[in-house]
């Protein structure tokens, strides 16, 4: 490596010290510690765990889509444990009312006045289990809260705690009486990840290991709230150079033009992509984004925002985002 490059790197770190923060490599250690701590419970899912952390660092909400029993809930629990967050869980059902999520005013007989009783949404980490089982009304109550980070009931606005992080899960195989999230609401999730079956080695360890519930209770908290806030600030200051923005724009442009896609990525989608790529770069211990970061986060950021055109995708066994990555030149 050349001096010139080191020199530039120093510039960046000087800037970051001004905003009370450490070198990116410090975060790197911290993040690695978190990942290995999570992995004591959720085994063999390093990539997904890192993605989930990236989502958190980028201050976005996470949607986990997978079959029942794949460890969605465990992952959410573990993350909450490692971060030391206040954690609540809502099991979505078809008779869930919006009030069950955001809370409702309750009449106090002694004081003779209404008092707002906050719902489970007032927590730092909210696990919305099987979100697609609830009616659209209940879904949108949650999603509005996610978007605005506040709740309005009877004309009073109640801000949600900071940080506020939603992990929602949904089953890919739907049964009668489910309500798939419309595209507009899927957009509220920064990332959608799939856990998938564990690898052979990991599965063996799961089988050998103890009950994950017990392991969760033994988790060490690694990141404090202040540290998380710093990390989130740090993500904002990760450098995105012009050539990288060119690449992102090429990706977005291609998704909009190509007939493989029914519709392309929205500007919000593009923004989400850049934000996630920044967080990923931080996790990788870099203070600038490179195309690999974009490619790593693209499937979970874009897949749920795209819809394939007729007859072109799927049957070849290639996902839409893979197609996108393969088709767009990184360098141009």
């Amino acid at each position: 490596m050349l001096n010139g490059i080191y020199g530039r790197k120093q510039d960046v770190s000087i800037k970051s010290i001004e905003q009370p923060s450490h070198d990116s490599s410090d975060y790197h250690d911290l993040i690695n510690a978190m990942v290995s701590e999570v992995e004591t419970v959720v085994m063999g899912k390093t990539h997904q765990v890192r993605l989930a952390l990236a989502c958190l660092f980028a201050n976005g909400h996470l949607l986990i889509e997978d079959l029942p029993g794949m460890g969605k809930t465990t992952l959410a629990h573990t993350l909450a444990g490692v971060l030391g967050f206040s954690f609540k869980r809502i099991q979505f059902t078809s008779d869930l009312l919006p009030a069950d999520i955001i809370g409702a005013p309750i009449f106090d007989g002694r004081e003779q006045r209404f008092e707002f009783q906050p719902g489970p949404v007032f927590s730092q980490l909210l696990l919305a289990d099987e979100i697609n089982r609830a009616t659209p009304k209940a879904q949108s109550a949650l999603l509005e809260a996610m978007e605005e980070r506040q709740v309005s009931v009877d004309g009073t606005t109640h801000p949600l705690p900071v940080p506020f992080f939603v992990i929602a899960t949904q089953n890919p195989i739907s049964q009668t009486g489910t309500f798939p999230l419309p595209e507009s609401q899927l957009d509220r999730f920064l990332m959608r990840i799939e856990l998938g079956y564990p690898a052979h080695e990991a599965e063996r360890r799961i089988l050998q290991g103890s009950n994950p519930r017990e392991s969760i209770s033994e988790l060490k908290q690694i990141l404090g709230l202040d540290q998380l806030r710093l990390i989130q600030q740090r993500v904002e200051s990760i450098l995105v150079a012009d050539p990288l923005l060119d690449y992102v724009q090429r990706l977005v442009h291609f998704s909009r033009q190509c007939s493989d896609f029914d519709f392309g990525l929205s500007p919000r989608g593009a923004l989400a992509l850049v934000r996630s790529a920044r967080a990923w770069a931080l996790i990788e211990g870099r203070d600038y984004v490179i195309p690999e970061d974009v490619q790593q986060v693209l499937p979970c950021v874009a897949e749920h925002r795209l819809r394939g055109g007729r007859g072109h995708s799927g049957h070849r066994g290639i996902t839409l985002t893979r197609q996108l990555i393969d088709a767009v030149d990184v360098l141009e």
Binding site: A99, I106, F107, T135, A138, S174, S259, G308, G314
Partner: protein, 336 residues
């Protein structure tokens, strides 16, 4: 005898066809370059050459340098315009954009995306595509443009448009540069909807199904006396504040009766007739926002509603009996 005469012509046609295929295979997107662009003078161009030949002879005969100069200027203009006409196509990037499905007898919409490689402007570029109306396009200043071409479709099923011809005579009209492109794009052509009354033979599968109520969270239905264990959030606190009595709010959800559109309902009609009628009902019920299912021989789509459901039903109708089902959508799951 006639057959003998026709044969060479057929051979020539099939040869040029296969030559074109080899030269420009089916593609999603391409940039026009010297391998694909053909260029010859137009009739106007030949007239122009004759004119300048006349001027040249005049210049020679009257030994007039300036008249000769005019003829040289015009020759040069002609030669330079070869470059300009060629340049008005070369570097133009064309890719197949989205297509919109259509019903038989309508026009399908195909989108062409045009991109210019550099700062180059393209002017008066004509697109000839199948039976569609030719369209002229200018690509000036902005570096990309979408052209919507309307192509009439007459047969249900998947429709791939024929080769696209891109032609230009700009700037002087003395030369014609063109290129054939076989774009890899297609659309689905649904059967022509035929308005009809749905036969009411199959009891219980009528279309005017009553609405069934069940417990849900959609609509407020009324109040019931509070029983311990009811969610405090469902308690009608305002009533309690007024009267002191505890009531719980009751919500109900609504669901349509599941209608079935059935192939057998039109027994006795020809296949296309049946498809046309079913097609009408699919569009009709979808427009009304009703829930319905579709039964075709060997295919059953469970009742659902929404845009994706509609397009899946229409796709089944379009491809019925055509063996085109490997084109099945991936995201059928989402529709259900």
């Amino acid at each position: 005898m006639i057959a003998l005469l026709q044969r060479p012509k057929q051979l020539l046609n099939s040869w040029s066809e296969s030559w074109l295929e080899r030269r420009s295979p089916k593609t999603r997107s391409l940039t026009l370059n010297q391998q694909r662009i053909f260029i010859i003078p137009t009739r106007d161009g030949i007239g122009f050459l004759l004119m300048l030949a006349a001027i040249f002879v005049g210049g020679i005969n009257y030994a007039n340098s300036l008249i000769l100069g005019v003829s040289f200027l015009l020759v040069s203009l002609f030669l330079v315009s070869i470059l300009h006409t060629y340049g008005n196509l070369s570097g133009l990037q064309i890719s197949a954009g989205r297509s919109q499905n259509a019903f038989v007898g309508e026009e399908a919409v195909f989108t062409l995306n045009l991109n210019s490689e550099g700062e180059q402007d393209y002017e008066a570029i004509w697109f000839y595509w199948g039976e569609g109306k030719p369209q002229a396009v200018n690509l000036i200043g902005d570096q990309e443009l979408s052209v919507r071409m309307l192509l009439p479709v007459n047969q249900r099923g998947y429709y791939s448009p024929p080769r696209l011809k891109i032609e230009t005579r700009f700037p002087l009209g003395l030369l014609r540069a063109w290129s054939w492109i076989d774009l890899d794009t297609s659309c689905l052509v649904y059967p022509k909807p035929r308005i009809n009354d749905y036969p009411r033979r199959n009891e219980g599968a009528g279309l005017d199904g009553e609405r069934l109520l069940h417990e849900g969270s959609d609509d407020f239905d009324g109040l019931k006396t509070y029983v311990a264990g009811d969610s405090p959030r469902n308690v009608a606190w305002k009533t309690y504040a007024r009267t002191g009595d505890m009531y719980s709010k009751v919500f109900v959800g609504q669901e349509d009766h599941e209608h079935w559109l059935d192939w057998e309902a039109f027994a006795g009609l020809a296949i296309e007739e049946r498809l046309s009628r079913l097609c009408y009902w699919v569009t009709q019920l979808s427009d009304e926002g009703r829930t319905f299912g579709l039964r075709l021989p060997g295919v059953e789509i469970r009742p659902a509603r929404g845009e994706l459901h509609r397009s899946e039903c229409l796709e089944r109708l379009a491809c019925y009996g055509l063996g085109d089902l490997d084109h099945k959508r991936v995201n059928v799951g989402e529709a259900e």
